[in-house]
Assembly symmetry: D2
Homo-oligomer: 325 residues x 4
């Protein structure tokens, strides 16, 4: 389904895999500071932080899948079927529609800790964007260079979790995902040691055996374990090239290959439609797509961030091959 | 360690991940038809098929890691520590040194079936390239568009296996790798069905749960299972862009991220140094590297294949980023 | 740690494994109807249902580990470390100390549904038995021939779960234990089918391969999955001998062997101290111990159930071997 | 299918689970020294070591499933379908029919090392007992108090393996079973340590988590891993009662419960028909059955071992319950 990731080398990077069986014509979209943000139940924000990220724009509104603002705060929405439970409007709450949640957060906050405080009053209210866009069941990862949150609106209310992994996938709820990691605590990047019996001899027949037990299927709980293990043990140089490489390698470890996850009918398969990585310090948003492994970038600071108009960039389609001869 | 792959859409593609903690300055290397191939124990081949692939050239000899000839026959050598057992020279055999094996095969044969016949007389003889290059313990995958072999020189002799998967990783021996797949036969790209108890209800809480049980660590046996599952279930369009995308996605499913496999000392980690994919019908050899996800290509037919001189192309280093703005 | 089990053939059977590294001199203990039950915060029950089960008697009070009353209602307490959270006394609640919980339930209720109703008012209050018996962190399985509950007093309050498995082990909380079973829904008592690829052939090299993926370690989550699978798929004749055999075989599937689970110091190991099985229809309580595999029984109806005095039977120690010659 | 076990405390114990869906009326059978052993292709043994074990007697010949001789040498045959390959008669070999193999070994050898020497000349010849008993595909565990062997007649010939585990189950071949144990070398009887990341905290929520990854299904490869782990880590006192208890507990860890392994038709299930344990120092053969958990014993030295007549004891059927009241 999806995997969100926060990773820091010298700079902080934030991005995600979008895993779906279809595409909504999403584009890299910059919302400048004076784009008039209107919300369904809370006051509009005529001026606000600039945002860059991946969005489908509908009726002039940028429906962000993931984004980063000019302060380096980032947020992504990931599929959370059956668990996401949006609420009726509550008089004493800040009522935010799910599709407004990313813009509302990124438009005004600078840090995760500020968001955390604001969330104590937030009610994710069950208002769909319009009749053509059914409500998406989502949960969110919100990150800055210091820390990450997981935010889930479930039957019992809005749950805000500290997310020390900087990783989010999909079901189950974040508390169960975290609990399940206990079953992997013995996994190691080092070769395994013989704890089985000192009367027997074993053969470390391959490198990498210290992580035997790490799951490799593409279900959301398995991707969570795999992505957390890969991210927490990642080693990278600090240059932009090295950092981007490592970031996309981590996302690649949980990418979905066409054919491996059949959905619904005979010929429908979930794939990693795009992988993104925003350098939240420089405001450059990078992406690859299933069929274009070259990294493509958009620099938010190359556009007029004081404008009122959305700027978007259609995704490059097809492999961009560099021929040596 | 490594993963070799043969995959067919409209064309046939062959390639591999090279997973190591260091690099030998390998380059994309074309051996034209009149390059004088000399061998240690068998007659030289002054003229032969042209070959393209990844090689380190030493003392004028192309030490191929993997390659494809102009007939579409392909071959790659993969690490096979402790199991590889090279033999003394045998008077009644065709004595080939391990480092000669890829050139010797690709220089003269057109199909896997031809190779299979020739292998009945082959003895992989324990002659190192020179004192600076210790003998590499290897086994090989040999593929054409119809079929693949796994070839292993072990204590009991030269074993040649039909390889219906078109996948090779490393240890254990191919017969055990194949046997172990029986333990995964229930894995599915479809959602799991309840076989547990008709008195209980279960929740398919994520897509992809049909493959729960597929391993995700980077040991060679786990990569074999994961790569075979991904390859056998792969779905791809037939265009070059789609085919390459799918091929590199399959290799990506078993790529090694820096930090996940520690070797020897504190700061040494195995990574996927390069991933290659040769269109064996067109003779174009593509590759990506750990730090350059853009596909780079070399077309063997753009050079003079009747020459006597090796032609090589150093690998492009660092991310080649396409900026939209 | 422990496994509780409810199982029905013609009669209903209830019992458990007690897994610990030491024993508290527990005995099969019958509480007759006129034994004066006094409680810390609720009124005494001078007359009540008779109870049979395993208990340590201290200060004249039967501290039941598990028991069954003359109406066929059964209950067992199982270790629930870190999760069990007992509460301060609550004025509007029925305040029951954890050590009183089994007697209080079995003394007065006939069915699980009656208990379920009563539990809506129960507060498990943090009163230890005395200074010598520290509070045990427990949760409970309550069963009759129709259904079972899991009852857990956790931070968020008293949680009462319908338990369609009739199985309880230990951590994590019952909702997570249930959720985790989704990952095993594909397991089958039938041979596995090839879902992997219709282009490959696999070998069902052993019977029992349909359940590959079922865990076999002795942690509480693994024992839960194994015991539920074994119980839900159990087949038994209806005679007392067949029913008891199957019941103890199910418990045996998750028994703990000395040496496999080291606790604390060098020489301390958790083992299955006893396994019990009460025919809740006849009131005969059977048990085996780690070192006596013969089934020993006590019939509650062979004692004067109108008495005021506890009757107990020390456990038979050591293997009782029947020699043929 | 089956599990064989050799275990030593103060005395040496040898036995097995017989897992099948039916029974051949097997009995504890003593072959005294002067019972005339006749063989199909090798000379008869009119006088020999006395043997005790489980056998079906047909046409006056004891078809042993497992047995121990008066010297303490033991041997059991276990199912080995598809892999067992019996040979044509060979002129220069000691031609033993599979059904003669246990009697032939136990009749004349004192130690495993003697057997090992004799096996260099043995050819297991494809002669069935008679038309009513089809050839059973078997392999064997042979043990004394010092060591064990695994013996397999496969396509490539008779393979004799040192068996440091003292455990045998069924398929695959012993070399692959041994190899697969490498994947479990990290399993521990101690609580798991955090190797995953020193930046994260994990919760050892249950005892026994150090062995997470140990399989619990009843296939032969999974039973092998589970039985070896349990046996190699077993702790036992040295008394007969403690030793027997531990031995049957180890066998119990891989016992098969009715309903968990369906074979063929709708109502056929493999179960652990009997479990045996012979004290090879005293010659007392103990057993339990699926439906009688009490240990029953037969002492070979209580019969006239110089007789010519087989002595057998039908198995006790049904639970032998000791009532306290």
């Amino acid at each position: 389904m999806c995997t969100g990731l926060s990773y820091t080398t010298k700079n902080h990077y934030f991005g995600r895999n979008l895993d779906l069986e279809f595409s909504y014509n999403e584009k890299v979209t910059i919302t400048p500071r004076n784009f008039p943000f209107e919300f369904r139940r809370v006051p509009p924000l005529p001026t606000h932080h600039a945002i860059i990220g991946m969005a489908t724009t509908a009726d002039g509104f940028p429906l962000y899948y993931d984004g980063t603002n000019e302060k380096g705060l980032s947020m992504a929405g990931l599929n959370f079927p059956d668990n996401a439970d949006y609420k009726p409007e509550a008089a004493d709450k800040t009522n935010i529609a799910p599709f407004e949640f990313i813009p509302w957060v990124l438009a005004q906050f600078d840090t995760v800790t500020q968001v955390e405080t604001a969330l104590t009053k937030v009610n994710l209210v069950d208002i769909p964007f319009n009749d053509d866009f059914p409500q998406s069941p989502l949960h969110w990862i919100i990150s800055d260079s210091d820390r990450s949150l997981a935010v889930e609106s479930v039957r019992s209310g809005l749950r805000v979790y500290d997310n020390p992994y900087g990783v989010l996938t999909n079901n189950p709820t974040f508390d169960i995902q975290s609990f399940n990691l206990n079953n992997y605590m013995h996994l190691s990047t080092n070769p395994p040691e013989n704890n089985f019996s000192d009367q027997l001899r074993f053969d470390t027949y391959s490198r990498g055996m210290g992580a035997i037990g790490l799951p490799g299927d593409l279900s959301s709980a398995s991707r969570f374990a795999k992505a957390v293990f890969t991210k927490m043990n990642s080693i990278s140089g600090t240059s932009e090239s090295e950092s981007l490489s490592q970031f996309f390698q981590i996302l690649g470890s949980v990418a979905q290959q066409r054919g491996c996850v059949r959905v619904g009918g005979e010929d429908s398969y979930e794939i990693t439609i795009y992988s993104s990585c925003c350098n939240t310090d420089t405001g450059v948003y990078y992406y690859t797509t299933y069929e274009n492994s070259q990294i493509t970038g958009v620099d938010m600071h190359k556009v007029d961030l004081d404008s009122e108009e959305l700027v978007d960039y259609p995704l490059t389609k097809g492999q961009q091959i560099a021929m040596h001869n």
